[in-house]
Symmetry: C2
């Protein structure tokens, strides 16, 4: 067990310190035995990154089983001034789990239990390693579900840490709206409870929302209280082609303005539809297309579908292809979720990079059209799909990494996409998060005073800079 840290210097760790790391690994090995792993393959897997950012593996991976284990790991590492990087399923997209200063990856896969379900309160308490699908399987018998669906079968801890959202966010919100409270191990190993289980509170600073989206840089989540929703009595899904991106976006705006509580409304551009047709054996017209879903009572779903149909017809969209059977619906949304993999098949052998931006919905069509023009001008291949109800869209950029000129053009596209979004009062990332990949855009997005506030908060809560350093805000 590590000693008290009070006497240690509180200056931030800024470089990799091999001696400190070796000492921490020795102490962790004494405490955790075969639950600490230092093999090359496991380390590389835990620095896994799906971006341009090169893999920077941690020096060791520890597998805690309890909150107390996490506290002990953090205390040891705080004592030795060694970074700790929380790890869920490794599906983050911007180098969130890399270890640029080395250190210890804390993989919470064994902390995957459902601790309580409070059906009357529509909430549950879980450990951070439970995945979205496992959670929903355990809730199904009680007629409940957790609505946030980022596509990947991510861990709930990771989903909270990255403030993820996904297809259902237009109706159910993002992780910021669906986490009621958390237990978080702080930089000194103390365990903080961010809030109570009451549905709302005005009792002080909103630590829950501060921690959601902090990407492991302010604390390590070891327990989450989540808001749940009742499984809808009725669900209707459909696919609707449009003559243009503008028409599809206009339909989305009118749907939301009309107060139709659409549960999902997803835009796939013509190229993305072509990719999905090939990958998922569909035969959709290769034009801009909305995938939609309505939740509610039978009567309400029928009314929503009818009203949406009227909007679509006015804009020259359709005909609608409704998936009424559960298995057709699953097939449809599986195709949507496989959009990334489908995109990759457009150019076998190429590397695929996913990125996202989000703009006010009134600017969405303009932003998507401008992006498509940039892609064509730069002679790149990049299908687009988006959570258009929120003004959020993704590119899957397919790049031949051996072609230096193409790589240069691809990087240019990324820059221009962010510039475009910021020029429209948008954000450099709607849901993927900052990680390492998007740090360079935060100054342009937020301005110096906001970035200074973020750095001040980071310094205040992690004076040694050991919590996932080198992500979100640079301290040096």
């Amino acid at each position: 067990m590590a000693g008290p840290t009070a006497a240690k210097p509180k200056s931030p760790v800024e470089t990799r310190d091999p001696a400190a790391i070796a000492a921490a690994i020795a102490a962790l090995t004494a405490a955790f035995g075969n639950r600490i792993v230092t093999s090359q393959s496991v380390r590389e897997q835990h620095g896994n990154t799906l971006t341009w950012v090169p893999n920077q593996p941690p020096d060791a991976v520890v597998f805690p089983q309890t909150t107390q284990d996490v506290q002990q790991i953090v205390r040891i590492c705080a004592d030795k001034r060694v970074p700790v990087i929380p790890f869920g399923t490794g599906t983050s997209l911007e180098g969130h789990i890399n270890a640029p200063l080395g250190g210890v990856s804390i993989d919470v896969r064994d902390m995957n239990k459902m601790l309580a379900v409070h059906a009357e309160d529509l909430d549950c308490v879980v450990e951070p390693g439970i995945t979205r699908k496992a959670l929903n399987e355990q809730l199904r018998d009680q007629g409940l579900f957790f609505p946030i669906d980022p596509g990947a079968d991510a861990s709930l801890g990771g989903m909270a840490a990255t403030r993820c959202s996904g297809t259902n966010a237009v109706r159910y919100g993002t992780m910021k709206d669906n986490v009621l409270a958390m237990k978080v191990v702080m930089a000194d190993g103390e365990l903080m409870t961010t809030s109570r289980r009451a549905k709302k509170s005005a009792a002080g600073y909103d630590l829950t929302r501060l921690l959601v989206g902090s990407e492991g840089t302010l604390g390590i989540i070891t327990e989450l209280t989540l808001k749940l929703s009742g499984i809808p009595e009725a669900i209707a899904s459909g696919v609707c082609p449009f003559p243009s991106v503008d028409a599809a976006c206009k339909a989305t705006i009118l749907t939301i303005q009309s107060g139709i509580p659409v549960a999902r409304i997803e835009l796939l551009d013509a190229l993305q539809i072509k990719a999905c047709n090939a990958y998922s054996k569909l035969a959709l017209p290769e034009v801009p297309t909305l995938f939609v879903e309505f939740h509610g009572s039978d009567a309400s779903v029928a009314e929503q579908s009818q009203r949406f149909g009227d909007i679509v017809a006015d804009l020259g969209g359709g005909p609608f292809d409704w998936a009424t059977k559960a298995e057709d619906r699953s097939r449809l949304w599986q195709a949507r979720h496989d959009g990334y993999h489908a995109g990759r098949r457009l150019r076998p052998g190429a590397s695929a990079f996913a990125t996202d931006v989000c703009v006010p919905i009134s600017r969405l069509a303009e932003c998507v059209n401008a992006t498509q023009r940039e892609i064509a001008e730069l002679k790149l291949v990049a299908p687009i799909l988006g959570h258009v109800g929120d003004g959020n869209f993704h590119l899957t950029l397919l790049v031949d990494m051996d072609d230096a000129d193409e790589l240069k053009r691809a990087k240019l596209l990324m820059e221009r996409l962010v510039e475009l979004a910021l020029s429209m009062d948008g954000t450099c990332t709607g849901e993927h998060g900052v990680g390492q990949g998007k740090m360079k855009y935060l100054l342009a997005e937020h301005g110096a005073p906001a970035l200074a506030a973020m750095a001040a908060i980071k310094r205040a809560l992690d004076p040694q800079n050991i919590l996932n350093p080198g992500k979100i805000v640079a301290l040096s």
Copy 2:
């Protein structure tokens, strides 16, 4: 204009400093002329407090007209190490606007403009002094409204600063869910933008949610971007008596579990109904009663009302009294909003103190019943009304301030109410905020690590402790 503050000491201001205050008032008078007021009556009005907390007036009140004015006031006060206390309409309930260390009240009443409405994006940009009713009047022509309704005609800046909610929160959320972005003057006079206008973002720490509910202790809000909703096509309101608090709470739980998107669901206990009957000339049965409202399309409102009616009948509630005409609906909700004034009339001459707690909804009936027992045992008069869809309820405690024993019993009730709520995983305040009145409960509610994190954040963003000091977290 104040000079740079970098050379000044950054230690926190802990006591009232008359010389510093005099110097700040002189500098402010030079800059703002007759827009700074030091008369006794205006000062007392700006320390106005509707709680037990005694009035602690500021030394001066300044009326800025622009964000730049606020920056200049803060820079002058930062330079002199003098507290600044933002003031909206003075309707906060826990001593939020008192000046325990003296200083300058910044009254934003002249910063009350609507700056932009983006109807397609369902958002608008406003100055902080605009009130809820003025805002909704300006939005009505466009078929839009801002749903948060705390009862009082509060300013939007104050509503954000206290994370207020109210009757519509069960459907539309609280201020944390309805503020997209803010401009905030920080402790050094710099202007921070918390976020962009995009509907969601994962780009760094959630400064918007950190500032919402921070009660002026981290920065002074000078502009807000608000989420708007479409005015519902149809609205149905009704009043429904129940045989017991338990039955009314059970009906609420089942309504929410069934996914009926109730817009308001308010419990008034028998004593509160008696008070409302007398004050608002109603003739309701004096039993526990739910006031409800449904929003949606005609068909959806009819379906919601029908389904709610079925739940009520199963629990022995009813008969329902529906207010179908707009004027009947207004009268009904006016009576609900006048609940506080009605309560006061139960005991003319007594002082009235409003307090609130919030618990998980499954514990609500138990909490209300136990509170009623405490009120009876302590021989006090305190009608109860609550936003029961959120598990949140209010007491209006009517106290003869000349009766020392009664005052003692009343204070005991307040303590017991909070203890009770905390023992049920609830919070010491669902929507009134901390101010001075509820600071003493935060340690029991959040625990030492969370309180330490709040204090660290406060110190990091306001090292001189000049932003509304003595609220939320004590630094000494």
